[in-house]
């Protein structure tokens, strides 16, 4: 982490994103924000509140409800030298922009043989557990992580939010920046002042241990750490890795940990089938088969079309800390 200042302030994830965007707008006049309700409304989570007054409607652009257009316009801006930060109000609404993201942004550098790049950031809140029901709970990472040319990050600690958002803005290629909405105000942490970046593609060991490796990201990292701490009081030692970046994936950190602990549990909220855990699982099986002392296990969202609104359905979809702790115990004892 390249830290410009050692001073740090405690804030939540909303404030970390807001501060980072604000600094980017102030420090680089090529940056601009476009999306639904980002201007007058100041974003539905108030992340860009007041920005329109400070930076004007030419840099804080309220768009129509047309996601393909938001991303398409932003791609054009990026290719022509601006640094657009596009926002999809909820990840559930990203599908109309799928062609622009996958078919255009991710292929720009390749198609132009390096003549053009697409320095675009697409921010979007994702994830459930907030009674958001069908259209405000989805996880979209697995739909995009198959695509070469697209970077995907999903930090869940305020300091990582800022460092990775700065890295995403600085990056010459398109970055899908996923923010778990339940962590927005739930999670607080120290954030260094000033501009710094965290390299995209670098995971972080949030809780060291030596009997089991847990790989997760988003909201579940926090629960996994809670569960690991609980197991610590029972004399069991769990290493929790926060993936932070989904693509590129930090194979080095995962493999080093699995070679040490010999056991792997992957936890994510997105559906199990073809999810990020499937790729991690395959990668470890390919690279570290002879280090494994237990079958790889995944705790993931069930393969149902959506998260229900009813509290019981939502609870069934979301993985509780108790369930995480139970799986951890089982694997350690295996």
């Amino acid at each position: 982490m390249a830290v410009a200042s050692t001073k740090s302030v405690v804030m939540n994830n909303v404030e970390a994103v807001r501060q980072t965007l604000h600094e980017a707008l102030k420090n680089d006049e090529r940056t601009l924000i476009l999306g639904e309700d980002v201007g007058a409304r100041g974003n539905v989570f108030l992340i860009t509140k007041g920005f329109i007054d400070e930076f004007g409607p030419e840099r804080i652009i309220d768009t129509p409800l047309a996601e393909a257009s938001i991303v398409g316009v932003a791609i054009g801006m990026a290719m022509e030298g601006l640094r657009p930060i596009a926002e999809i109000q909820f990840a559930d609404f990203i599908y109309p922009a799928f062609n622009q993201i996958v078919g255009e942004a991710a292929k720009t550098r390749y198609r132009s043989n390096g003549d053009y790049t697409c320095p675009l950031v697409i921010r979007t809140p994702y994830g459930g557990g907030v009674r958001g029901a069908l259209s405000h709970s989805v996880s979209v990472e697995a739909l995009f992580y198959h695509v070469p040319g697209l970077k995907i990050v999903a930090p869940s600690f305020p300091a990582d939010m800022k460092g990775l958002l700065n890295a995403a803005i600085d990056d010459p290629d398109p970055v899908l920046f996923l923010e778990h909405k339940k962590t927005y105000r739930l999670v607080k942490g120290e954030v260094p002042s000033g501009h710094y970046t965290i390299p995209i593609g670098k995971a972080d060991v949030k809780h060291p241990g030596d009997q089991l490796t847990v790989v997760s990201y988003g909201l579940y990292v926090h629960q996994a750490i809670d569960a690991a701490q609980r197991l610590g009081t029972e004399g069991m030692s769990v290493e929790v890795i926060d993936l932070r970046s989904i693509r590129p994936m930090d194979r080095t950190t995962i493999l080093a940990s699995v070679r040490k602990t010999r056991k792997l549990l992957i936890i994510h909220e997105d559906n199990k089938f073809g999810g990020v855990g499937a790729e991690i699982s395959a990668m470890v099986a390919e690279e570290a088969f002879f280090d494994l002392d237990a079958p790889i296990r995944r705790l993931c969202g069930p393969d149902v079309p959506a998260m229900g609104y009813a509290a019981t359905l939502e609870e069934e979809f979301m993985i509780s800390t108790d369930r995480m702790a139970d799986s951890m115990r089982e694997l350690i004892r295996f």
Partner: protein
Amino acid sequence: MATTITMPQLGETVTEGTVAQWLKKPGDTIEKYEPFVEVSTDKVNAEVPSPVSGVLREIIAKEGETVATGAAIAIIDEIGAEAATEPSRAPAVPVAQLPEVVPSSYGAPGAGPGVAAIPAVAHGNGAARNGRGASSEADRGRRVSPAVRRLAREHQVDLAAIRGTGTDGRITANDVVAAANGSKATPAAAPGSAEPVTRSTYAAPLPGTLVALSQARKIIAERTVESLATAPHAWTMVEVDVSNVWAWRAREKDRFAREKGFSLTLLPFFIHAVVQALKRNPLLNSRFTAEGIQIHRDINVGIAIGLDTNLIVPVIREADSLSIGGLAVAAGRLIEKARTGKLGADELAGGTFTVNNTGANGSILSKPIITGGQAGIVTMEAVVKRAVVIDDAIAIRSMMNMCLSLDHRVIDGTIANAFLGDVKKRLETMGPGGDL
């Protein structure tokens, strides 16, 4: 060649057999498959066919003797074998799942209902697994993970020599590393050993010191394990309002100490209530035996006394003949002797029921282990002042929990709670003005 004949396993859960009758005597010739001994268990009586042809050299287990499955019962000199050698001491392999399953390695013709499995011989044959029902759990215990396989190869460790500590006895990577490091990995039990396999769930020893077992600790360890293993413990608890008896005790204690030389605690009041309730519920004052439930004539109450390093349970004999004051003196004497190590053997024997004053250490709920051969144990927990509802008004009362562990073979919850309810009623109706 001398062949040691062992007690066959006459059924999956059978662990021992009794020699009912020898059909041959030493010196007699025995044909292979010829019945030569009759064995009985609690499940079957069966004639045991000989695994070899030869001459019965020696009978080891006499008629009427009960021996463990796999233990030697006789030695047969095999005919046609070379010079007789000492019988091998290798453990026998229990092969039989009889009567209907015939072990394939012997394939005894004529083995049918009423004819026992051919007993194992000590030739070190591999266990003849019957084809069906190889359990998946056992399979899991034998399967090794990629890491285990690699580590075993790298460290040249023999996996057969390791007893796994993982789920279902699986050998874990750490087990291999521990074995390679020469730490005391538990050696595997010899296959088919008559010894029951007790699998430790603990990993290799961690750094620390070893405290040698005192005789008392050994006995406590044996007895508690035995009690829990034989008596199915059920547990129940009631709460008692001891405000009145507490007040009574407070009023009497100074005078009592002055006159009798022993302090008046809540214990004798409690024992008295328990003893009276035992009289009303004699099933609690009993012992479970195979023949029936032995109800005792006398009520001899053991009182558990915790010392610094161990626990001792002296007995107040014929406690039903003593008053509260008499119980206070008797208990006081025993406690004093226990603390000074002066209890005689006769003062530790003959208990029919046990009372444990766990509250003395501040406990408010405990799950005691029944003293072996008794039907129950009751605890008196700490007396605490609590807000309780009496007739829709809130009052501050001195409350105490009583916990009962009971041998479920003897009594069920209904009787147990009737007993506890009786104790409760007696304690709650005691009070100043009563007879000490």
